[in-house]
């Protein structure tokens, strides 16, 4: 296989391609799955609000 006589090394070559293909197939099959839920969006907004309030309470802001 691939002109590599050693089974272990040839297997590594083959698995390189297989693992990449499996990753791609997984990504394609789940392309539109797992969008953020309402709850996640609300949690995110809440954290961001707290972060901004804390940052703004510091004179001159935090990032400068």
């Amino acid at each position: 296989m691939f002109a590599i006589p050693d089974f272990s090394v040839a297997l590594a070559f083959l698995l390189l391609i297989i693992t990449t293909l499996v990753s791609c197939i997984y990504g394609v099959l789940n392309w539109n799955k797992g969008a953020a839920t309402e709850e996640e969006i609300e949690t995110e907004k809440q954290w961001m609000k707290e972060e901004i309030e804390l940052d703004e309470s510091v004179d001159g802001g935090v990032i400068s």
Partner: protein
């Protein structure tokens, strides 16, 4: 190479990088932006940033050089890089990390575990370990990048170190993780196309895939005696099972780096920069293809350079490289590739180095600013100094990295990388997995896992693993011998011992202690099936 063209190419590249760094800076308004990119990173940017951070000059220059010595069995590392470093990491670790990070408003890897277990000690201790040891890995990346500049441009090594560090420091300190990830995306794209061209070139030049592999197999008799003595059986063969080389390749490089990737702080934090699991699903494709092309090309070219150099100079690769495996890839590019590719490859290496270094410096900075200084409840007083301490931490780490880059000897890139990956996995992996999947994990169990993993690793470096024990010479001073145990232990990577110990301590101590804060556990697992 034409100096005029070279300067034009570099200036153009730096102009684009500066623009992206500035974009990151201008869009960074608060700490969440600085550390997590506002949790709204595009999947392409996230995947390229993850890949470009993962695959550094260590992988291309260091492991590419090592591959010229040890051969294609190193491809098992790429199998792990894709199978574990992308597929398992994104699907089984990334999604829970993102969700739990959001539930707990964690900004860094140590903060995730610290908040999951309601422990400022864990956050601080992890931050300190990262701050102390990550410069070793950063130095490996810096050495790789500087060797390329030295090899291709003739810039003295010392100047290369300093120039490279200052360039990266500018956009990391100002732009935070947005600056880092935007530039990573550009740099990752350059790496991908550059390595793809290199892969096509080497196989075309050597008559195709099968012809190239056959030629390398036929060189089996030319393996140096010193390598044969430790188990080398040819560049297309796996080393003799149980030999010193077999343990080095499979325990240090494949197991240590292949599994170690799961607990890398600079990579884990990227899971928390995206909005939802959808982005992670999409990023899996980009990440896998990116790693396939970049990492496997480095190892294949490293091994096949033996065929090229034998044809062109009558020497095997390591002889052509003057005995230093770290300089092999730069020499190969200079000797074998057309001039125009030299320019492109220089950008590839600049990109690989800058993308990893920037993430390392950012992680080192946040480990001291956010995790050590500002751990626990973030108050107004802490917040006032947090970013300043982070930036000071970055500057300090850069100075330490440059110092290590000057002091560390030849041929150390792959080893230093393996040490850091192994150390992080030995200390953090067991508590990290348990944090994500096991509600019964206790604070004391996690601390026991981290401390035991760290202790066994450091003990192994001092008394068991020959390469480090010989350098530290503590065992020699105390017991009159380099290592305490005989073969195969001097070749077995510390992680092979340390990780199981860490797992056992994490589980046992958790089972014998009570969960300290059930409310935090429920908060952590909210929305996680």
């Amino acid at each position: 190479m034409n100096l005029y063209y070279l300067i034009v190419v570099i200036v153009l590249y730096l102009a684009v990088v500066s623009y992206l760094g500035y974009r990151g800076f201008s869009q960074t308004k608060n700490s969440a932006d600085y550390m997590l990119g506002g949790r709204k990173t595009h999947p392409f940017v996230m995947a390229m940033s993850y890949g470009a951070t993962f695959i550094s000059t260590s992988a291309i220059v260091g492991f590419g050089g090592v591959s010229s010595l040890f051969g294609l069995s190193l491809l098992w590392l790429v199998v792990c890089n894709i199978g574990i470093g992308v597929l398992i990491a994104f699907v089984f670790f990334g999604k829970r990390t993102r969700k739990m990070g959001l539930n707990l408003n964690a900004h860094t890897f140590p903060e995730l575990l610290g908040r999951r277990l309601n422990s400022t000690f864990i956050q601080r201790f992890m931050g300190l370990i990262i701050f102390i040891f990550m410069p070793l890995y950063a130095a490996a990346v810096l050495i790789g990048s500087s060797r390329i500049l030295e090899g291709l441009l003739g810039i003295p090594y010392m100047y290369s170190l300093v120039i490279f560090s200052v360039l990266v420091a500018c956009y990391v300190i100002l732009g935070g993780i947005k600056g880092v990830m935007y530039t990573d995306a550009l740099q990752g794209s350059l790496m991908f196309f550059g390595m793809l061209i290199l892969l096509i070139f080497i196989y075309t030049n050597l008559g195709g895939v099968n012809a190239a592999h056959k030629a390398l197999t036929d060189m089996g008799d030319l393996v140096p005696g010193s390598l044969k003595a430790i188990g080398h059986r040819g560049w297309t063969s796996s080393p003799e099972t149980g030999s010193s080389l077999w343990w080095t390749i499979y325990s240090s490089l494949v197991f240590g780096v292949g599994f170690g990737v799961l607990a890398q702080p600079q990579l884990v934090v990227r899971f928390m920069t995206v909005k939802s699991d959808k982005e992670l699903n999409r990023a899996t494709i980009i990440g896998a293809v990116f790693i396939l092309i970049t990492a496997s090309t480095a190892y294949i070219v490293g091994a096949l350079s033996n065929v090229y150099f034998m044809k062109s100079t009558g020497m095997i690769a390591i002889q052509a490289a003057g005995g230093n495996s770290d300089t092999l890839i730069p020499i190969f590019i200079r000797e074998a590739m057309p001039d125009w590719f030299g320019y492109l490859f220089m950008l590839v290496i600049l990109s690989a180095g800058m993308s990893t270094l920037s993430s390392q410096f950012h992680t080192i900075g946040t480990s001291i600013g956010r995790d050590f200084y500002s751990s626990g409840k973030v108050t107004k007083e802490k917040r006032e100094k947090e970013i300043l301490v982070t930036r000071i931490g970055i500057v300090f780490s850069i100075l330490l990295t440059v110092f290590l880059g000057i002091e560390m000897g030849a041929g150390v890139i792959a080893r230093a990388t393996a040490i850091f990956f192994g150390l992080m996995a030995s200390s953090f992996l067991a508590p990290y997995i348990a944090s994500l999947y096991w509600k019964r994990l206790t604070r004391k169990g996690a601390i026991a896992g981290i401390v035991s993993g760290l202790f066994v690793t450091v003990f192994s470096f001092l008394f068991l693993h020959e390469k480090e024990a010989a350098v530290f010479a503590v065992c020699q001073a105390l017991f009159g011998r380099t290592t305490l145990l005989d073969s195969p232990w001097p070749s077995v990577d510390p992680m092979v011992l340390a990780l199981p110990v860490s797992i056992i301590f994490t589980i046992l101590i958790s089972l014998f202690t009570k969960v300290e804060d059930q409310k935090t556990v429920e908060q952590s697992f909210k929305g996680i099936a």
